[in-house]
Symmetry: C2
Subunit: 77 residues, 2 copies
């Protein structure tokens, strides 16, 4: 799995965990909904700044998101 | 301190810790030297993919780099 796809999977999982929509998430972090959708579909990767903003909006640590992405990169699934 | 500057400080500190030059670091992670210089001067921020590549090249975890950046963002110094 490449980084964009791994990040997309993690972002969607965390968003659904707290039961908010892409529009809700976009509103929480001042990123437009279309960009959230690109991330979740594995079509774009975030910058460090965006990673920190998304983590805040999801109520998780950015380090946790990185760990989850790395798990998926090394997974054989 | 903004994210670009915080990342630049962290990157330079970690590079100097293992006593390699910007050219050495560039060679280790297939990023050109000019880009490494932009990062260290706080003029560009990395994507998630680049963050992971730089962490590998520096022999640290990407999570550690994120933690160090966050420390500097919240510092009053």
């Amino acid at each position: 799995m490449d980084i964009k796809k791994a990040f997309g999977v993690v972002l969607k999982k965390e968003r659904e965990r707290i039961e908010i929509t892409q529009i809700d998430l976009a509103g929480r972090c001042d990123i437009d909904k279309e960009t959230i959708s690109l991330y979740e579909r594995g079509l774009r990767q975030p910058t460090l700044k965006t990673l920190l903003k998304l983590a805040d909006a999801l109520n998780v640590e950015a380090e946790y998101l990185v760990t989850e992405v790395k798990k998926r990169l090394t997974s054989l699934e």
